[in-house]
Amino acid sequence: MARTRYAPDRGLTVRMTVTMFLLGLVFVAFVAAIIGILTAVHASGAAIVLVALIFGGGSAIASLFYSDKIALSAAGARVVTPQEAPELHAVVDRLCALADMDKPRVAIAPTRMPNAFATGRNSKNSVLCVTEGLMYHSNLTPEEKEGVLAHELSHVAHKDVQVMTVASLLAIVAGLLVRFAFYSELFGGGRRSSNNNQGGIPVVLIIMAVSVVVYAVSFLLIRVLSRYRELAADRSGALLTGQPSALASALTKVSQGMSRIPNEDLRAAEPLNAFYFAPAMKLTRGGGGGGGGKSLSQLFSTHPSLEKRLEQLAKIQRELGQPTAGGLSAGPGD
């Protein structure tokens, strides 16, 4: 029988499952609270909730559907043919053959910052985009570039764009509700709410308060989920190439390069942050030396800290290097 040395990281799986479960829980609680509020008093707020749901759902579906076009035009990227970029295509061809996945379209963005992202609503429509900085101006070796590409292909394989869109649906609806409730209160909502208020608190205000809480909680959970997805993509990417240390050194180099980039680039890149290889906006301070305390910026970050990512890759390196007789890895330590 074929042995495998690619044991899944159970710890990561569990943490990700819990995060998704919590997001689902918040969603259910949110819906229940809204229905509860609306049935307790007359359905005066129903219109607002309905409009928010339609708008939120619609915008989520649209952003998913056009994710490739939106991201490409935001990055100013252009899809390139195998004739235009034979080397890049060759690397992607080989990685896709290794991973047995459909080859995404390949695009190049005219940005000096070394980075890459992948997007698209399904495997047929996905795009893998690298910046000119990564391709031509960085000091990355071919193996390190391959590691970056493998990481991005793992995002495609994990359908991260779809997963994150669904996950952020809740936050979008909650955020819209806050805004709608606020405006309706501002512009003549006072008449209606005075008819329905119980104990002096207008319905719209209650909806607004619930939405604020839901928005905050789901926002944090989405960021947690995003960080786990990054770790998962690192892991799959490293296993795909069999070169975890090449990916680790690519990460180090790209993160260092980030700090030397002028501000214009960073602002232009910010909307795409969640899909980038390394965060284009530096929210994490990187310091702390692996000590216990999680800083606040870490809590809001879309990407795990460099230390965490390197630590995971070092673990994969040990697993891959185990002698054959040892067989399967002993499992994650934590």
């Binding site: 495998t4 990561l12 997805r229 799959s236 054959t324």
Partner: protein, 194 residues
């Protein structure tokens, strides 16, 4: 790949399919009859090396194994090991042109050694070279993860003879599992063993 694996972001490295490779010798006879291409006797296995000593040990064991009967009748030449510019390793095995069975056995030995040591997912493709009397070059490329073949006919420079490839595809449709998705027919320019 399961829905849960995708949802939880734990895609597993794909194990290779090895068995379909053995359809090659009989397909070679069909190929010769229908289009005049004969095996050159050389073929290669391409895989992505893993960092670390464990993998390089496996790699050198395979080389020793294949070289054991090099020089003997039917044993072929010693294997050639090349590292291409993309970081992949090619093990080239060369036999006489009528020893396709022995060649396939050699290639399979590489496959099983990697799989037995748990490195099966690192296998990319295997390539068997053909020529016709006009010295046109052709390779049948076996994709391990798909268990399918596709023809690759390089011309000078970075051009492919697509017409010839389609012709070969049709000629072998009954003998080999041909890769139907043309986007997966990636070019292997300058592949060792062609």
């Amino acid at each position: 790949m399961g829905f849960l694996d995708t949802l939880l972001g734990r895609t597993k490295p794909v194990q290779p399919k090895l068995d379909d490779l053995f359809a090659l010798p009989s397909a070679a006879i069909t190929l010769q009859a229908s289009s005049g291409f004969t095996p050159t006797g050389s073929g290669s296995v391409c895989f992505r090396s893993v960092e670390g000593k464990t993998f390089s040990d496996v790699e050198s064991d395979v080389r020793d194994l294949l070289n054991m009967d090099a020089g003997k009748p039917g044993g072929g030449l010693p294997v050639e090991v090349t590292r291409d510019s993309y970081g992949y390793t090619w093990l080239v095995s060369s036999h006489l042109s009528d020893e396709l069975d022995a060649l396939v056995t050699d290639l399979h030995a590489v496959n099983s050694a990697l799989v037995d040591n748990g490195f099966g997912p690192q296998l990319l493709c295997t390539l068997v070279a053909f020529r016709d009397e006009r010295e046109r070059r052709l390779a049948l490329v076996y994709l391990y993860k798909r268990g399918t073949f596709y023809p690759f006919a390089p011309l000078s420079g970075q051009e492919r003879d697509n017409a010839l490839e389609i012709q070969i595809k049709n000629a072998l449709a009954d003998d080999l599992k041909i890769e139907q998705d043309l986007t997966r027919w990636f070019p292997v320019w300058g592949a060792p063993g062609m």
